[in-house]
Every structure is written in structure tokens, then in C-alpha cells.
Amino acid sequence: MPSFIEIRNLTKSYGDHLVIDQLSLDIKEGEIVVFQGPSGIGKSTFLRCLTYLEPFEKGSVRIGNVMLRAGMDEDRDRAAILALREQVGYVFQFFQLFPHLTVLENLTIGPVRVLEVPEEQARDEAIKLLKRVGLEQKAGAYPAALSGGQQQRVAIARALAMQPRAILFDEPTASLDPTMKKEIIQVIEEIRHDHLTMLVVTHEPEFVKRIATRIVTFGAFGRIS
């Protein structure tokens, strides 16, 4: 089976500071890869590079049938970059829900504005997703009224609403207390299925135990083992 994600010679630095040096990695569809390693080693930067939130200097990233190469421009190569982001969900450490929109609107804005799904259909699907993460009664609330764990569950639902083929989790439980951590791990466990690839940057041993199909350990300059 050909790999779903194919990373070749990915190189990223901030000024003179080399963060990732020629990283190559293949990930198959449906794999759940947990990235471990010391803080500040470049795991989050690596995730950001995968969807070009962070431009990189050398190498390439292919996800599905979209190829991103070093030196692309967010404006000029918009078509490719957006096509890639549409099929890759992102869950952040600090949730990054849109505070001026209700929970429901947070879930529908992507499908409606980006995928151009009819509003009603997007709403129905959003409510189904909120049920899956146990928050259907919060549909009309604003994010500020939710606990951290609830916000992260909404953030996961928001990523799922785009029907992605992969989801990137950047320390999804790092800013939560232990009970909420469990909630999130459980939700992630529940949403996995054969065709959803997940990349998780985390220090949480529970992830490794319960859901990881593969563990990648980050060393200096993005050397992996």
C-alpha cells in the first residue's frame, strides 16, 4: 500500500537556528502516530510545516494527492495549500475556538465558507458531531462559557466537521487538568476509524498505551527514531 503522507528532506530553520534537518517520513492511511521528545525540540514546528502554517526551506510534503514544496507562496500557490488544508484537520493546544461565534457556528463556518456545503446540511452534521462529543446542549453557547475540556472537544468536532482524511493534534491535552485529559483521550479514541490518519504530538503516556499504532521519537534537528 502506498503511503498516505510522504515527507521528504523537510528542512526548517528560524534564522540561523536549524530546527529540522532533512526529515523524511512515510505514514500510511489510518495510522495513529504519536510524536514524542523533549519540549522545544521542534515537534510542533514539524506539524505546522505539514500544512504550511509554517513555510519551510527545503524538501517536500505530500498528503494524499497534494504536494507541497519548499519555497511555495501562500498567495501564489494558494490552490495547492488550501486543497491540502481542506483534507487535514488541526487541533491546537489552546483550542483556538472563534470567540465571537457560537459553538455551532464554530463547527459550520468551515464547511459553509470553505467547502460550500448548504447551511442547513452543515448545521445538521454539526449537531451530530456535537452529540458525538457530548456537547449538543452547548450548541448556542459562546466558547468563553465552556470549560477547557469542553472547548477542546468542540475544537475536535470543528476539525471533524471538515471531514478530513487526517487530523494533526498539537499537544491537545497539555493545557488541561487530569479529568479533562481523560475526556479528550476518550473522544479521540472514539473518533478513530480505518480511513482517518492521526498525528499526535504529546507527552501523555495514555495516548501511547491506548491508541498509538506507532511511536516516533524526536531528537535534535528533527532526527527521528
Partner: protein, 487 residues
């Protein structure tokens, strides 16, 4: 405005000063006769010599030198804006005003006058070759410029069919006539003779209109000084020195023969004085224009401010430099100068804006720079993670800006932006200098006619407050709402 307020504060204290002794006693003690005049657009009365601007010349300078010699005192010139000369006299900044001050009944209520030292008429000026205007009736239905707070303005205003445009000085008035912003101008004969006659584009037409006279203004509490001035003027009339001065300045007219027939107290007055409160409807009406100018210029400022901010944040290198440059230059120069350049400066490049357009443009272009900076800090105050999240959903940069960043920034932007609008609103008082007849201009007109600086000033301030306070309440409630949603 600030100057007027200051004058107002001094007026409040004037009853105290009124207790002071006759100015003639002070003049005798010090050997100095202080007299007030304005040099701005002041030829041929009192003005800077074109050959040596540090030297001030004029027929009234010659007159006062001669008066000083006759009285055995040294004349000392005290400068001030023309419309403030009477208030200055009243609060004791000088002993007399000698600066083309017409003897009028309104003025005689607050100061005394000497006998006339010059008779004059009003003169119509039109563009060369325009022979339509031979009499006052011909001015009906036309835009006619004049000097604010003068007899000419009163004459024009007595006919409601004439559109009167008052100016602070004759230079701007004749310039606008040349540019076609005015159809004609009506000013004192000596002014027309000095400024308009030598101008190849203008000509003085028709017969002289009305007749009035200039007298030396003296404080009400100084009858001795007044008597001394009268004696001196009579003396100079009799010995021909006055005639010599006027002939030297080409100001001698047959009307001056009446001077020799003068006896004390003949100073003529004019009728039709209005009580100050009759000006309130005018002030309210002009407040409407202030609102219109504020709203239009704010709309322009918001639009342009957004473009500038967008250019500075997301534009290419050139756009960034241009936008930053614009913002810095506008913020680094006075609004007053910008208005002057727009209205009086641009015609030198062949671009002519009417005063309303210049006012809206000037205010709008200026406030756009401040708005742009407010928007920029508003947009930057939205955490970067928000744009990461938007982009991760596959949004374009425009979608991210419009759907995610801007709606959050608006809550940060609105309160300071509303405050800016309140400031703009009050700054519109500045456009009175480019002849826009808004509220402050109306106050100036009403106060210099009635000398009720205090009452009318309070009414004007109250009008500004009544219009800006609701905005300030709104701004505060916005801030509260923002707090409620985001925290």
C-alpha cells in the same frame, strides 16, 4: 475656539478691570500710548512692509506717530486678531484701538469712540470684464465675499437673497473671487483700493455704497483719553497733517472734507441691533452643518483608514512604505495647515475645491491616518492562533480576515474609533477658517456682532456637548459589551 474661550474668560474678569483709572492717566504716567491693531491682511492700514517684513507700515502707523507727537507720548503697537481687538481693549491690553474700526451702535454699547478720523464707503469688486454688479441689488442671488464683523457684512446680510461668505482677511476673499469661488466681493473702500485695484484679474465696479467712518476706540471708563484723542484729531485735521497722510497713501477722497466739519459726539450709529438670544436658531441651524461635515468626513476616514491599515499590514513592500509614509506625514503636520493647503494651496496647481468639499476631504484625509493606526493595533490584538485556526480550516487570507480576525478586532477598534469621531466632531470647528459656515463660525459671527461672547459661547459649547455626549455614552456601552462577550 481656544482663543475665543480665553477671551471669554478675560471678559468675565473685566468688571474688575473696569474699576481701574482713566487710561489717559496711565498714558501720562508711562509716556506710552498702547494701541491695538492686526497686521494680517491689514494693508493699507497696518501691515508688514513687503520689502522688510520686520517693519510694520500703514497709514494708521503714520497717523498714530503723528498723534503721539501731538500728545507728547510714544505710541506702542499691540498686535492681536482683528475680531479680538475690542475685547482686548476692554480688558486693558491697550489704551485705544485704531485699525479701521467702524463706529457702530453695537460697538458703542461696549466701548466709546473718538470723532471719525476717516470716512469711507463700501466698494463692489468683480472679476475683470464682469460688469453685472453695479449696485447692491445686482448682488442678489450671488455669492459675495466680505470681511467678517464689518459694516459690509451687515449691509450684505440685510438682504437675504445675497449669499454672504465672511472671511477673516481680505487676501483670502479676493483670492477666492479670482478663483471663481465668489461672484463678487464687498469691502471697505481703502481695502478695495489697496488689494483689488492693482490686481489685473479684478476690478472695482459700481458706485461706492453707504458711508461710514473709522474712529479710535477707547474704553468706556476713559473719558479723558477720549477727549484727548478728539482734540488731537481735530488739531491734525485743521493743520492739514491728516490730509497729508491720506494723500501719501492715496486714500484722500472728497468725503474726507466732512472731517473739518466735525464736532465732538457726532459719531453716527446704526440701527437694527438684535438681542443675543435671537442668534440661537442660527447656531442650531449651523450645528446641522457641523453634523453633516463630521459624518461625511468620518465615513471617508473609516474607508481610507481601512485601506491604509490593510496596505500597511498585508500589502507589498511599496504599499507598506506608501501607507506608513502617508500616516506619518499626516500625523506629523497640523490639521490647520492641511486645511489651508487643500483650500488655498491647491488652486496654485490648478485644482479648485469648494470650501465644503475641502472641509470634508481635509478632515477625512487627516483622521484616516489616526483610524488606520487604531485598526492596525485592533487587528494585531487578535491572537495569532486565531488566524492559524482559520487557515487550518482552509480559509483564504481574505476569509480569515473578514470572518475571523475583523469581527474580533471590531470590538477592540470601536471604542477608540468612537472617541476619534468625537474628537473629529469638535475639530470641525477648524474648518471655519476656510469659510465653511458651521457652528463655530456662526458663533464668531454672532459674538462679534453682539459682543455677547459669554452667553453665545456657552450656548455654542452646550450645542457641541449635546451632540458629542451621546456618542461618548455609546462608546462606553460598547466597551462594556466587549468585556461581557470576550471575558
Amino acid at each position: 475656539m481656544r482663543k475665543r474661550l480665553l477671551a471669554l474668560l478675560f471678559l468675565l474678569s473685566s468688571p474688575l478691570l473696569a474699576q481701574s483709572q482713566d487710561h489717559w492717566l496711565t498714558v501720562q504716567q508711562t509716556g506710552v500710548l498702547r494701541w491695538c491693531a492686526d497686521t494680517a491682511g491689514g494693508a493699507p492700514y497696518v501691515f508688514p512692509d513687503a520689502k522688510d517684513p520686520k517693519t510694520i507700515i500703514g497709514f494708521e502707523i503714520d497717523l498714530m506717530d503723528t498723534v503721539g507727537k501731538d500728545l507728547g507720548v510714544r505710541p506702542k503697537l499691540v498686535l492681536g486678531p482683528w475680531e479680538e481687538l475690542v475685547p482686548m481693549l476692554r480688558r486693558g491690553d491697550c489704551d485705544t484701538v485704531v485699525n479701521g474700526l467702524e463706529i457702530t451702535a453695537e460697538r458703542e454699547k461696549v466701548i466709546d469712540f473718538s470723532i471719525p478720523y476717516y470716512y469711507f464707503s463700501e466698494q463692489i469688486t468683480a472679476r475683470k470684464g464682469d460688469n453685472r454688479f453695479q449696485s447692491l441689488e445686482d448682488l442678489r442671488g450671488h455669492r459675495v465675499g466680505t470681511l467678517a464683523a464689518t459694516l459690509a457684512e451687515d449691509i450684505l446680510k440685510s438682504d437675504p437673497r445675497v449669499t454672504v461668505v465672511p472671511y477673516p482677511s481680505p487676501v483670502e476673499c479676493y483670492r477666492d473671487l479670482e478663483l471663481g469661488r465668489l461672484d463678487a466681493a464687498l469691502l471697505d473702500g481703502p481695502i478695495a483700493a489697496w488689494y483689488a485695484a492693482p490686481n489685473p484679474n479684478l476690478s472695482n465696479t459700481g458706485e461706492p455704497i453707504g458711508e461710514s467712518s473709522y474712529g479710535a476706540g477707547v474704553p468706556k471708563d476713559s473719558p479723558m483719553l477720549r477727549r484727548k484723542m478728539n482734540e488731537t484729531f481735530k488739531h491734525l485735521i485743521q493743520n492739514g497733517q491728516l490730509e497729508a497722510i491720506y494723500k501719501r497713501w492715496n486714500l484722500w477722497t472728497p468725503a474726507q472734507k466732512k472731517l473739518s466739519a466735525l464736532t465732538e459726539g457726532e459719531a453716527e450709529g446704526r440701527q437694527n441691533q438684535k438681542p443675543w438670544w435671537k442668534f440661537i436658531p442660527l447656531l442650531i441651524q449651523r450645528a446641522g452643518l457641523t453634523i453633516v461635515i463630521s459624518c461625511l468626513s468620518m465615513a471617508l476616514a473609516v474607508l481610507l483608514g481601512f485601506l491604509l491599515c490593510y496596505g500597511k499590514l498585508y500589502g507589498g513592500r511599496v504599499a507598506q512604505i506608501l501607507c506608513s509614509g502617508y500616516i506619518e506625514v499626516i500625523r506629523g503636520t497640523p490639521l490647520l495647515i492641511q486645511l489651508y493647503l487643500l483650500y488655498y494651496g491647491l488652486p496654485n496647481l490648478g485644482i479648485q475645491l469648494n470650501s465644503f468639499v475641502a472641509a470634508v476631504l481635509g478632515m477625512g484625509l487627516n483622521y484616516a491616518a489616526y483610524e488606520a493606526e487604531i485598526y492596525r493595533s485592533g487587528l494585531l490584538s487578535v491572537p495569532r492562533g486565531q488566524s492559524d485556526a482559520a487557515r487550518s480550516l482552509g480559509m483564504t487570507r481574505h476569509q480569515s480576515l473578514w470572518l475571523i480576525i475583523l469581527p474580533q478586532a471590531v470590538r477592540t477598534i470601536l471604542p477608540p474609533s468612537t472617541n476619534d469621531f468625537i474628537a473629529l466632531f469638535k475639530d470641525t470647528s477648524l474648518v471655519s477658517i476656510i469659510t465653511v459656515a458651521e457652528l463655530t463660525k456662526a458663533y464668531g459671527e454672532a459674538a462679534t456682532t453682539t459682543y455677547r461672547f459669554l452667553e453665545l459661547g456657552l450656548v455654542t459649547a452646550a450645542l457641541y456637548f449635546a451632540m458629542s455626549y451621546p456618542l461618548s455614552l455609546w462608546s462606553r456601552s460598547l466597551e462594556k459589551k466587549r468585556h461581557a462577550i470576550l471575558h
